[in-house]
């Protein structure tokens, strides 16, 4: 099943080309759209919603042509913009109810849904207070709630973790994962941090300068990484030397050692080396590929 496709999508602004012959396919579940700032992520979302006309190219969202059926797409899709978009002087409940009506829900239904959705995003008593007094985390939740109020089939979340502290970030990511799995709503979520999306996405698309760098299932990303990260309290030089002596490929990233995985014996080698050298092991985890790595890898190809 395909949620959306684009074919040779190009968008040129007077001074900059935001998208350059981009062809992608997105399936159900949570899809991450990764790119540096200015890579064309927000422009892509606006084109998919039928708000911005592409210079060239075509495509479909939920089987609807975004060049001609924009209003039908907007009826069944939700959108959480990157920027602030909340009026300060009304309460979250009133705002979300209003946005539900704007999506075509009758007022009573909008009220019920608003109560449900605000609870799901984690806003309780504070939802009756004016939005002006909310923290960034609460605002992000209201923005998410207004995108979900009409029970869309697909939501576009543009940088939903922007400005959140680590705890808020984790909660938001968990929530997005729930939307994709438990709620059964397909999600296209953008970020400039691949590591963040790795945790919640089924599929990741990497774009840079408006072109497709890579599109693959999340498993392929970790396969491509094939490394483990080791952190010991002290003596990482000794550990690196020891492992290199055993024929492992080791690279040091500051206090961390990245060890290339050849097979199960690599894990054993690390364990044994730490014991033999009597070191305190702080961390042993699967290597996280960062967006820089994808760019670097691509440059090598």
């Amino acid at each position: 099943m395909t949620i959306l496709t684009t074919e040779g999508l190009t968008k040129r602004f007077p001074r900059v080309t935001a998208l350059d012959r981009l062809s992608v396919t997105v399936g159900p579940g949570v899809t991450g759209l990764v790119g540096a700032n200015g890579a064309g992520k927000s422009t892509l979302i606006k084109i998919l919603l039928g708000l911005v006309e592409p210079t060239e190219g075509s495509g479909r969202v939920l089987g609807l042509d975004f060049r001609t059926q924009g209003d039908e797409i907007r009826r069944v899709a939700g959108y959480m913009p990157e920027h602030e978009c909340l009026p300060p002087d009304i309460s979250a409940t009133e705002f979300v109810v209003h946005m539900g009506q704007m999506s075509g829900l009758p007022r009573t239904a909008a009220r019920e849904r608003a109560a449900d959705v605000l609870r799901h995003v984690g806003l309780y008593e504070e939802r009756y207070r004016a939005i002006g007094g909310y923290s960034t985390g609460m605002r992000q939740r209201v923005k998410l709630a207004q995108a979900l109020i009409h029970d869309p089939k697909l939501v576009f979340l543009d940088e939903p973790t922007n400005g959140l502290d680590p705890k808020g970030r984790d909660e938001m990511l968990a929530l997005i994962r729930r939307i994709g799995s438990e709620f059964g709503i397909s999600v296209l979520v953008t970020s400039h941090l691949l590591g963040e999306l790795e945790r919640i996405c089924d599929h990741v698309i990497v774009i840079d300068g408006g072109t497709l760098l890579r599109s693959s299932a999340i498993g392929e990303f970790t396969q491509a990484t094939q490394s483990i990260t080791v952190e010991v309290e002290e003596g990482q030089e000794a550990l690196a030397a020891h492992l290199s002596g055993l024929g492992e490929t080791v690279t040091a990233h500051g206090r961390l050692l990245a060890v290339h995985v050849r097979g199960d014996q690599t894990f054993d080698a690390v364990r044994d080396a730490v014991c033999d050298l009597d070191l305190s092991l702080v961390r042993l985890e699967q290597g996280r590929q960062r967006i820089e790595d994808v760019f670097r890898e691509n440059a090598h190809v």
């Binding site: 919603l49 708000l51 911005v52 209003d71 039908e72 907007r74 009826r75 939700g78 959108y79 913009p81 920027h83 602030e84 978009c85 909340l86 009026p87 300060p88 002087d89 009304i90 009133e94 209003h98 946005m99 009506q101 704007m102 999506s103 075509g104 829900l105 009758p106 007022r107 239904a109 849904r113 449900d116 799901h120 004016a130 207004q146 009409h150 029970d151 729930r178 438990e182 709620f183 059964g184």
Partner: protein, 306 residues
């Protein structure tokens, strides 16, 4: 006892999908209009947001109350229906200036507009809803006092055919003056439409509410000021025709001139409009409404693609 289930537990019933009806664009536009109209009168907002609109509503009601009292006590009508709006123009201008930025500026300043446009509504729908909301608000402000005056006239038995200001100031007006009332109600809508179009268009060009208020009030002061000054200058040079044309620079007198042309009657302001003021004024009113609406549409198309 230990086996009774605990009370007061909130059960997480999980996510529920929505299977009910989904209305189309028309419904959404109506919802936006009602939301905006409520906002103009501060409904659903803080008590502070209600002070200005309701004070102005109260001031608009004063002449109607005085009129009814005068009819009951001294059997006289100080005001004609068509003279009501020109007499209350400052109040209406303040209402327009204070409330039209409220209607459009926050959506621009806090960037709510992209959320609206991510719904099935188009920029044209948005502009239409905002204009309709402001027009309705102004019309209510005009129509309610007029209707109170008319009901008063129906209830209180006046001697028909009496001139409102004495024979010297104008022709006799029948009582109840149904034609005058209906004509003024119809033109209440014209006033509301013209003021809303100009006021909201001016306000939509700035995301700052204060600047919007200042711009609208400045425009009104400029128009009425120029009108008064030119009128005085031409009168001093005995250019009576030019002096009467100068009156029409004020948008309230412009609409009033058209109303008098169609429905006859006196303004009660002691002003004489030039002979051709009616038809030309009608054209000017239509042009102003069209121009303001076009400017707003252009402004929101640009905002939508940004």
């Amino acid at each position: 006892m230990s086996e009774t289930s605990p009370t007061g537990v909130i059960h997480d019933i999980g996510y529920r999908h929505y299977t009910g009806p989904r209305h189309g664009r028309g419904y959404a536009v109506r919802a936006l209009t009602v939301h905006s109209l409520r906002g103009v009168f501060g409904l659903g907002r803080t008590a502070r947001a209600k002070i200005i609109p309701y004070s102005l509503v109260a001031i608009m009601m004063l002449p109607a109350v005085v009129q009814v009292a005068a009819m009951a006590l001294i059997s006289q009508r100080p005001l004609t229906y068509s003279g009501f709006v020109p007499a209350m123009q400052v109040v209406l201008a303040i209402f327009l200036a204070s409330q039209s930025p409220f209607l459009v500026a926050p959506d621009l300043r806090f960037r709510v507009l992209p959320l609206y446009l991510s719904r099935p509504v188009t920029p044209r729908d948005y502009v239409g809803a905002k204009l309709l909301a402001m027009t309705s608000a102004l019309f209510l402000l005009i129509a309610i006092p007029l209707t109170v005056m008319y009901i008063g006239e129906l209830v209180i038995d006046m001697r028909p055919g009496e001139s409102p200001f004495g024979e010297a100031l104008g022709p006799a007006v029948p009582s109840p003056d149904t034609v005058g009332y209906l004509g003024s109600m119809a033109f209440g809508l014209v006033y509301a439409l013209l003021l809303a179009a100009v006021g909201v268009a001016v306000a939509s060009f700035t995301p700052r509410r204060g600047l919007g208020v200042a711009s609208v009030i400045a425009l009104y002061l400029l128009a009425s000021g120029v009108s008064v000054v030119l009128n005085a200058v031409f009168q001093s040079t005995s250019d009576d025709v030019l002096a009467s044309w100068a009156l029409l620079v004020n948008p309230f007198f412009l609409v009033n001139a058209v109303q008098n042309w169609i429905f006859g009657g006196v303004t009660g302001t002691g002003l004489d409009y030039p002979d051709m003021a009616g038809p030309l004024g009608a054209l000017a009113v239509l042009a102003l409404i069209a121009l303001s609406t076009a400017a707003m549409l252009a402004r929101y198309r640009k905002a939508a693609s940004a």
